[in-house]
C-alpha cells in the first residue's frame, strides 16, 4: 500500500471518528445551546478529515476539496449562530445555567436604533 493511500485512509477514519463523536455529543448534551457546540465544531473537523481523505485517495479532487473546506469554515459558524439566536429569541431556556449576562431581547438597543 502506498503512503498516500495510507494517509488518505487515516484522514478518512479520523474524520468519521469525529463525526461520530459529534453525534454522541448531540445525544448526551442537555439543551439546544450545548448541542450546537457538539454538532458545529466537532463536525467541522470531521468533515475536514473526510475531505482530506478524499483529496488524498482520489485524483484531481484537491482544489475542490480545499474550496469546500474553506466554504465550510466560513459558513458553519453562521448556521450555529442563526440556530442559537432563533432559540434564544423564542425563549428556549438553558438546561443548567451557571451565568447569564444577557438581558431580555426587548432591552437590547440594536433593533430599534439601527437604520
Amino acid at each position: 500500500m502506498e503512503l498516500r493511500e495510507l494517509l488518505g485512509l487515516a484522514a478518512l477514519y479520523f474524520g468519521i471518528a469525529f463525526s461520530v463523536i459529534g453525534v454522541i455529543g448531540m445525544m448526551r448534551l442537555p439543551d439546544v445551546y450545548t448541542r450546537l457546540h457538539a454538532s458545529g465544531k466537532v463536525s467541522t473537523l470531521g468533515l475536514w478529515g473526510i475531505l482530506l481523505g478524499a483529496a488524498l485517495l482520489l485524483d484531481g479532487v484537491f482544489p475542490r476539496a480545499l474550496a469546500l473546506a474553506v466554504f465550510l469554515v466560513l459558513v458553519q459558524p453562521i448556521a450555529s449562530h442563526a440556530i442559537a439566536a432563533a432559540a434564544r429569541r423564542s425563549g428556549v431556556p438553558m438546561a443548567h445555567s451557571f451565568r447569564d449576562d444577557m438581558p431580555p431581547i426587548d432591552n437590547l438597543s440594536s433593533e430599534a436604533e439601527q437604520p
Binding site: 469525529f18 463523536i21 454522541i24 455529543g25 448526551r28 448534551l29 439543551d31 445551546y33 450545548t34 450546537l36 457546540h37 457538539a38 458545529g40 465544531k41 466537532v42 467541522t44 473537523l45 484531481g60 479532487v61 482544489p63 475542490r64 480545499l66 474550496a67 474553506v70 469554515v73 466560513l74 458553519q76 459558524p77 453562521i78 450555529s80 449562530h81 442559537a84 439566536a85 434564544r88 438553558m94 438546561a95 443548567h96 445555567s97 451557571f98 451565568r99 447569564d100 449576562d101 444577557m102 431581547i105 437590547l108 438597543s109 440594536s110 436604533e113 439601527q114
Partner: protein, 167 residues
C-alpha cells in the same frame, strides 16, 4: 487606491475561489474566473469594508495568513476540547452566557461580524446575540475558560483591524 483597484483585488481573490470550485487550476481557468469576477464585483458595487493600500498590502496579507493559521489551530483545539468533554462520563461543563464587548470604537459591523465568526470557531464558545456592534453575548460550554475572553477579543480586534487596513 480607488474603485478600479478595489475591483481588481477582489476579482483576483474571487478568481482563486473560482479555480478551486471548478477544479481547473491553470492560467485559462484563472482568466475565465477573472472575467466573471470583474463582472460580479462591478455589479455588486464597492461596499467599503476593507481599505486596500499598496504600501500596507504586504502587512495585510501577512496578517491574513497569520490569522488563518491561528484560526486553524484554534478550530483543531476547540474540536478536541469539545470531544473530550462529550466523551467524559461525567460530562464536565458549566454552561452560561457571558457578555463580551467588541472594544471597537468605530462600531464597525464588519469587524463585529468577523469577531463573532472567530469566536464561534474557538473552544466551546458560540455567539448568540448582538447589541448593535458593541456587545456580543456568547454562550460558553465552560464559563471558567471564558475568563480570558476579553484579552482574546483585544488581540483579535488588533489583527482584524490590520487585515482590513484600518490600523
Amino acid at each position: 487606491m480607488g474603485r478600479v483597484a478595489y475591483i481588481v483585488s477582489m476579482s483576483v481573490l474571487l478568481s482563486i475561489v473560482w479555480m478551486g470550485a471548478t477544479a481547473r487550476v491553470n492560467l485559462e481557468g484563472f482568466f475565465v474566473g477573472f472575467v466573471v469576477s470583474v463582472l460580479v464585483v462591478s455589479l455588486i458595487g464597492t461596499r467599503k469594508s476593507a481599505t486596500v493600500q499598496l504600501t500596507r498590502l504586504p502587512r495585510q496579507v501577512f496578517s491574513l495568513i497569520g490569522y488563518v493559521l491561528h484560526s486553524f489551530i484554534e478550530i483543531t483545539r476547540s474540536s478536541f476540547d469539545v470531544a473530550r468533554r462529550v466523551l467524559d462520563p461525567k460530562l464536565p461543563m458549566q454552561p452560561g452566557i457571558i457578555a463580551v464587548p467588541t472594544q471597537d470604537e468605530d462600531l464597525d459591523e464588519t469587524i463585529a461580524a468577523l469577531s463573532a465568526h472567530a469566536i464561534t470557531i474557538t473552544p466551546g464558545q458560540l455567539a448568540v446575540e448582538f447589541d448593535g456592534a458593541k456587545i456580543m453575548y456568547i454562550h460558553c460550554l465552560d464559563i471558567a475558560s471564558a475568563q480570558t475572553a476579553d484579552q482574546e477579543q483585544a488581540a483579535r480586534l488588533k489583527m482584524l483591524r490590520t487585515i482590513l487596513g484600518k490600523a
